[in-house]
């Protein structure tokens, strides 16, 4: 009897400890942090006042604040606000002068001369000098190695503080597209990974790794005509679902990549912008995995997957279906003739599979990043469709960092569902992904004809001939069935009423300077 009170106390302590542990666990799993946004939840959802801080919910955390070491779309789309290159991507898919005022390309496309913009400063107030440009381009080229688009530079010289002359090893008429490479301050060399200083319209007020990044307007920005919000926050989530719940709860103001179902359930109170995901979504297959060494097997997969059904099940239809590694939103470099090459045909797929030596199918593991619902669900649909031709699929969901290291960099995979976005508007950086020796050739595609055509296309200075050659590249990818290219998925951007804007770019960009408060 005497020991009873003691027992009860110890039980109470145990429960308290347990509760504490559980709470701690919940906090780590991505519940909202205590910061300025918490006051928004207290306000009625629809009232966006002038001093209200705009919050955008992103379904992935950024990898780094150093723009030169980024690998993924999320990082690039966020850092676009902080950094600028000599030129800058426009919503129309072109490049416009940014750090540079103007430039001249020599007739042989080997020398580019830039004049820096008058009075342009870094976000710490220091003037941008030609030496900073030289430093930045060399830094990016060094970090990204041979795969860097800047590796063609043979020399950068700075005749004076305002002029930069870039000489290339060989002629490249597309080179200007690569000069969106972010200009960093040389004096900040040691802290580029922790103290981001760029020349963009927004500077980083606070960055909490894996949680959020706070922005505020940089008053010294060169474009004084900019009319947009003064402060903004981009919050990171593990899953789009969580961000969506937060949007409904009113703690964030905008999201992109929303499905038709989600938009439907939102009701009034939001401005909806239709867009595409700017992706080539597909089932990317490792061409060195035994069954995929046979072109017939790769083609069989292309015939067995019903692109229309995938689109309807995933997004209710309305996506742009593709058959090659090309991007319909930039018609200049897209071969539309490849469309419709692989029409859904199970019998033909079975026949091709038998021709390739696998009449009874084979086992296939599809690795998918589990933070992207779209890709996980697409994999589920493909599992069903591939079962019809005897390909037994197992789905292996992994977290994003594992996907990047094992699949993208390590190439240890059989197949994966993912979407590729444009990292640069230069078509050569896009089609290099299938050049046999490229560092970015994740699917291990190898085709001598493709390599040759690509090299010709890249060096060609005449735009029409260049287009023709790139079209041929895409035709080869279709004929050789390098992977199963599915679609550029339809999506929606949603802004809470009170905010308008959100410029749509041909690459992944969250342009905060395009958002206005009403």
């Amino acid at each position: 009897m005497k020991r009873k009170p003691y027992k009860r106390i110890s039980l109470g302590v145990m429960i308290l400890t347990l509760a504490a542990v559980l709470c701690g666990c919940g906090g780590g799993a991505g519940s909202s942090t205590v910061d300025t946004s918490s006051k928004e939840t207290a306000e009625p959802a629809a009232s966006a006042s002038a001093d209200h801080e705009f919050t955008f919910g992103l379904d992935s955390a950024i990898a780094s604040v150093d723009p030169h070491v980024d690998t993924d779309a999320a990082t690039r789309s966020v850092l676009f606000n902080v950094f600028e290159g000599l030129v800058k991507v426009t919503p129309e898919g072109d490049v416009a002068p940014a750090v540079a005022q103007d430039y001249k390309m020599s007739d042989d496309a080997k020398t580019y001369t830039f004049t820096l913009r008058d009075g342009i400063t870094f976000q710490d107030g220091k003037a941008v000098k030609a030496s900073d440009v030289k430093y930045s381009l060399e830094r990016s080229a060094k970090i990204n190695g041979d795969s860097s688009a800047l590796s063609v530079i043979s020399d950068i010289s700075c005749p004076d503080d305002k002029t930069v002359v870039i000489t290339l090893k060989s002629a490249d008429s597309e080179f200007i597209y690569n000069l969106t490479t972010e200009i960093l301050e040389e004096a900040n060399d040691k802290d580029q990974g922790s103290k981001p200083i760029g020349t963009g319209p927004f500077k980083v007020a606070e960055y909490k790794e894996g949680e959020y990044i706070d922005f505020e307007r940089y008053e010294g920005y060169w474009n004084k005509d900019l009319d947009c919000i003064d402060k903004a926050q981009i919050k990171f989530y593990d899953k789009a679902d969580t961000a969506f719940t937060e949007l409904k709860a009113g703690s964030i103001d905008a999201m992109w990549q929303m499905t038709p179902d989600q938009v439907k359930s939102l009701g009034d109170g939001y401005n909806v912008v239709e867009s595409t995901m700017k992706l080539v979504q597909g089932l990317f297959i490792n061409n060195t995995y035994e069954p995929f060494k046979k072109v017939q097997v790769r083609q069989a997969l292309n015939y067995a997957i019903d692109r229309d059904a995938v689109d309807k099940l995933l997004l209710g239809g309305g996506s742009k279906k593709i058959n090659t590694y090309g991007y319909p939103s930039v018609p200049e470099w897209y071969n539309a003739d490849t469309e419709g090459t692989y029409k859904y045909d199970v019998d033909k797929a079975k026949q091709l599979l038998a021709d390739g030596g696998y009449p009874d199918g084979f086992d296939l593991e599809i690795t998918v990043p589990n933070n992207y619902n779209l890709h996980v669900q697409a994999a589920e649909i493909m599992k069903e469709e591939l079962a019809q031709i005897g390909v037994k699929v197992t789905i292996n969901p992994v977290d994003w960092s594992t996907w990047l290291s094992d699949v993208y960099q390590g190439r240890k995979f059989q197949a994966t569902v993912i979407g590729f976005d444009f990292t640069s508007l230069a078509p050569s950086t896009w089609y290099v992904h299938y050049q046999s020796k490229s560092d970015n050739n994740m699917v291990n595609f190898s085709d001598a004809d493709y390599d040759k055509t690509y090299d010709e296309a890249k060096t060609e200075t005449d735009k029409d001939k260049k287009k023709e050659l790139y079209n041929k590249c895409q035709q080869i990818l279709t004929d050789q069935a390098a992977s199963v290219f599915i679609e550029d998925p339809v999506n929606y951007i949603v802004l809470r009423k009170g905010y308008t804007g959100f410029a749509s770019y041909p690459i992944y960009v969250i342009d905060l300077s395009s958002i206005k408060a009403e």
Partner: protein, 266 residues
């Protein structure tokens, strides 16, 4: 006048019903569990689809029936692993005592002081996701609680006269543990198993909900809840029915363990 053990009876009826559903699902479901159709996405409950359809046009009833199987299977395997190893550890430490007992039981205490889901998460991060891996992770997590219960019962019984008599008659330790002691603590063990099963079902649901358990498209009640989350405003039935079924399974076993406890006290 005879007093009925209502908890036990109600628990057995609910559990028998859920088991019957599970077994039926093994041979027959109203629709295919995995077949998708873009024509029947997110349909509300109707005569054709009693629980409606999900975002891929799959019949929710069929998936719930099949998902029960997954849940029962994981729950059962987890309890079996936990009970077998827990009983061995508990019986040996309880019967022999000494340093072995002290060391093993302290390790036990350390394991018990973590929430089981948290520990299972650590296991999963080493093993990877999947049905069988989650069984191993949860099974190991359930060993300490069984060991503790069995140990205290063994200590209580080993000083009873009939055990002493057996020892005097020259029976070996193993014989005493498995023939004389274990059969006498079966009610406590059954109660522990019922409680353990409940915890296993909840743990599986939470792990699958977090995307760390059963891999899609295999149906699991927890995974269905997780998938349903993004459609909760468009298709609330998708989240509702798997949730109700999890609650029913838990209720059934909860009542059984309550009833067994009543039996033991008589």
């Amino acid at each position: 006048m005879r007093k009925y053990n209502y908890s036990l009876i109600a628990g057995l009826i609910i559990t028998a019903f859920m088991l019957a559903v599970t077994i039926t699902a093994h041979f027959w479901t109203p629709y295919s569990v995995t077949a998708m159709s873009s024509m029947s996405k997110n349909l509300p409950p109707s005569a054709a689809h009693l629980m409606g359809t999900d975002n891929f046009g799959r019949d929710v009833l069929s998936r719930v029936m099949s998902g029960c199987g997954t849940t029962f299977f994981i729950g059962m395997c987890t309890v079996v692993i936990g009970a077998v190893f827990g009983t061995i550890v508990g019986a040996v430490t309880g019967y022999f005592g000494g340093i072995l007992d002290a060391v093993i039981m302290r390790i036990n205490d350390v394991l018990l002081s973590f929430p089981s889901v948290l520990l299972a998460l650590i296991f999963i991060s080493f093993l990877g996701t999947g049905k069988y891996k989650i069984i191993i992770a949860l099974g190991v997590m359930f060993i300490p609680s069984f060991a503790r219960i069995v140990r205290s019962e063994v200590i209580r019984i080993k000083s009873q006269d009939y055990v002493k008599s057996a020892r005097v008659m020259g029976a070996g330790s193993l014989r005493i543990i498995f023939v004389h002691i274990i059969p006498n603590i079966r009610v406590s063990m059954l109660t522990a198993a019922a409680v353990g099963f409940n915890n296993a079902v909840l743990a599986e649901a939470s792990m699958s909900y977090l995307g760390l358990g059963v891999v899609p498209p295999e149906p699991s009640l927890g995974l269905m809840l997780s998938e349903a989350q993004q459609y909760i405003f468009v298709a609330p039935w998708y989240a509702l029915f798997p949730g109700i079924v999890i609650a029913l399974i838990i209720l059934g076993f909860g009542l059984i363990s309550e009833g067994l406890r009543g039996l033991a006290q008589k």
